[in-house]
Symmetry: C2
Subunit: 461 residues, 2 copies
């Protein structure tokens, strides 16, 4: 029997991996070398919209499964080998999901057969994962030594068990419905199957709210500990671990993309007369955009870190907004790879629409960063609104609150201005873009500096 | 001013990413579809040996840099925005290292120019990272509120500072030597440059030992806390976080490889008459080998988890062996991708040496798993040897010790037997391999089961 912390941390990382890797099917299937001359990036990106929705859906689905995991370990304090095994098995099953949703992304156009099979694959994955989790919960309830002492002392253990089983079963049952109806090859059953399937994203939220309300009304007999299980979706520390996981996988994907741009010795021989120095010099824009992506991810993490520092407790609403933020952050490797293709190597762009494509690539990154900034702002606004419940008293110290707010505002403001600039004629958008990206980190330093001066003046006064 | 835990956890993850991604340049540049008919995998793998050494070297180098980071945060307890910023900057610099060592891997054959440039790139990265870390340390010593209270109370702070600065500067100074001598284009300076460069891997170990001995002799005046900084390389909890990071990035790389095998709708149309079911059926070996890789990684993590559970403290020797284990674990995505190419799709293998290549692919995976198992065994043996210092008392309970030993022995034994089988004629190695991989998890369950029975019998007696 071990304490479960490291198991939880490892699971958080795996769930974060699975969620973040969902972004892979978005990747454009074009290469710097051979872009068709009539290629229009705007249309390509626009036509990908079903994939964005599938990405959002599958990200939320993984986070939902992770909530179930989180719920189990909010009552399980110690783990034995069996829990360990069941947990690894559930991680194995859920790790198939990027493959399944990848199938959905690739075959959403080829209805009915391909798509149908893709949907049933995903449903089967959700059912198997859910099944293992239910077994895990039942096992823990059987072997009470593993449970949190407050749960073990609980007189009304049965209703706690039923409540937990219900929340855990919602998505697997919906998936079972989707799988069942996908077996009949008529149009109406297919639609029912899809309804069941997509209900997993939002439906579970609704069902959970109902259970939550039901429990609040009826189960006043449950101790505080038990009701708090239904009132929170994941603890602050686990949400931090999950978020760190997403940020680190995003960093991994960016580093991987960057490492893939190392020129081969053949390419150096053929295109640069065997001179590696020239070859590396010709890709200098790639380094800059790598540094830019890394800095943006680092700074967004820094903002998130700051907000969570002041957070006392994470409510379901905040958790939901955090999920959306992370989902958007997961899109950064996607836009940065587009940016690299269209900005990095001007010489290789001999297409008719190259300038338009460059602007669109810039706009895509700017819009994404804007959205991330906006959702961080929303997070903080709601946290401030629920101040008494969510935030520590530290935030009330006047300048700390302001500094946090300024930090959060930097990204939406800067990206908003940049978005405007990409529409302004007569300005070389590319150079402004590079300049602004390079100066953004210093805005954070400036904010800090102003804050320090104010502190000094206050101390003197 | 924040507590530094989350910053440390995030940094551990980034260092783990950087170390594990070093494996990317090993990737074979062949595709399932077009393997030349005279392709001999054995020779290809054999000729890659300089890259294995570069991988080992760069992995150790990252771990060494991570040790420096770990040392800084063993005296820094609280972080402010400046530390946060410097830390992100050092992570940015170190994250360039996979690109640099990738250059070394690709251009080790094209001496002198390409290789020289690659070595100076890496040296520059190490110098910049080291510089930031030195600044971080000096800043922390200046702003004493950030330091651990025991350090702040330390009377002999100067010798602590010098000791830490020395350990932090070893690698950057060696890199400076390598960079300096790489500027002269003569053969002898190149060799000196390389000597400096490769000294970073092992040299720092030697220098550190010297400092360690020196400090032990001379600095008896330092309190326990300060000497313990020089006696350990990284705390147990940070080593766990780093290890989890490596395991999770390995999992990520495996999932990424797996997700990349999703057939495109064109491929399904052209090769399988538009029937996705056939297309997916034809790649069933890929699923099996994915499950196998995931299970192997999961089980190796499970063994590591078990060993660390009994560990009270991690000595530099144990830490070194753990690094080697992790470096080997980092090779799993590499061998599993080879395995997928040569085993998965028999129909596509029309080369002269296809059967030999299959056996070699199997042997490569088996040998790697054997080596990982062996280094885990070595870890445990040394931990048992240094029992009083390293292990918790729990391990002395008779069956726990045996069970741990059995768990550790499973991988070396199974892979040793499998290695033998690949040389046995008349046996279909492929099917034995599949069978053994499928039954290995049950060996762990069996061990647990036997253990439980024994426990029961003991309770009764
Ligand atoms: K929880
Ligand atoms: K991680
Ligand atoms: K982490
Ligand atoms: K969340
Ligand atoms: K430490
Ligand atoms: K981790
Ligand atoms: K280590």
């Amino acid at each position: 029997i071990f304490r479960g912390e490291r198991l939880q941390a490892f699971s958080d990382a795996v769930f974060a991996i699975v969620a973040t890797i969902m972004v892979i099917p978005l990747k454009l299937n074009i290469k710097e070398g051979d872009i068709p001359s009539d290629y229009i990036l705007h249309d390509h990106l626009y036509n990908l919209y079903p994939r964005y929705l599938i990405y959002l859906f599958s990200f939320v689905l993984v986070v939902d499964t992770w909530y179930s995991h989180s719920r189990i370990f909010s009552i399980v304090e110690q783990v034995d080998d069996v829990i360990m095994w069941l947990n690894l098995l559930s991680l194995l099953f859920i790790s198939f999901l990027p493959y399944g949703t990848g199938l959905i992304s690739h075959f959403q156009a080829s209805r009915p057969e391909g798509f149908e099979l893709a949907v049933s694959t995903c449903s089967a994955i959700i059912i198997l994962t859910g099944l293992i989790m239910v077994v895990m919960l039942l096992y823990a309830f059987r072997k009470q030594a593993l449970l949190h002492p407050e749960v073990a002392d609980n007189t009304d253990m049965r209703s706690l068990k039923i409540g937990l089983l219900t929340t855990l079963s919602v998505n697997p049952l919906l998936a079972l419905g989707a799988l069942f109806f996908s077996l009949f090859h008529t149009e109406s059953t297919q639609i029912i199957s899809l309804v069941f399937f997509y209900c997993m994203g939002l439906g579970s939220l609704v069902v959970r709210t109902v259970i939550h309300l039901y429990h609040r009304r009826k189960c006043y007999s449950l101790p505080d500990f038990a009701t708090s299980i239904f009132r929170t979706v994941a603890s602050k520390s686990r949400t931090e671990a999950f978020s760190d996981g997403v940020f680190s996988i995003v960093a991994t994907l960016i580093v991987l993309d960057f490492t893939a741009t190392i020129p081969t010795s053949e390419a150096v021989r053929n295109n640069h007369g065997g001179n590696l120095r020239y070859a590396l010099g010709s890709t200098r824009f790639i380094y800059l955009s790598y540094v830019a992506s890394f800095c943006i991810v680092g700074l967004l993490w820094f903002v998130q870190y700051g907000m969570f520092h002041f957070l006392k407790k994470i409510t379901p609403t905040l958790s939901f907004i955090n999920t959306i933020t992370l989902c958007l952050v997961g899109g950064i490797p996607f836009v940065s790879s587009i940016y690299v293709i269209f900005i990095s190597n001007e010489e290789s762009l001999k297409t008719m629409y190259s300038v338009d494509n460059q602007l669109v690539a810039m706009r895509a990154s700017v819009v994404l960063v804007f959205l991330v900034g906006l959702s961080q702002l929303l997070f903080w606004s709601i946290a401030l609104y629920q101040k008494r419940e969510c935030l520590s008293e530290e935030v009330d110290r006047y300048p700390a609150e302001i500094l946090m707010f300024v930090k959060i505002m930097i990204f939406p403001t800067v990206s908003g201005i940049l978005f405007g600039i990409t529409f302004t004629e007569g300005i070389s958008a590319k150079h402004v873009y590079g300049f602004v990206i390079a100066t953004t980190p210093f805005l954070f330093l400036l904010a800090k500096f102003v804050f320090l001066i104010q502190e000094c003046m206050k101390t003197r006064a």
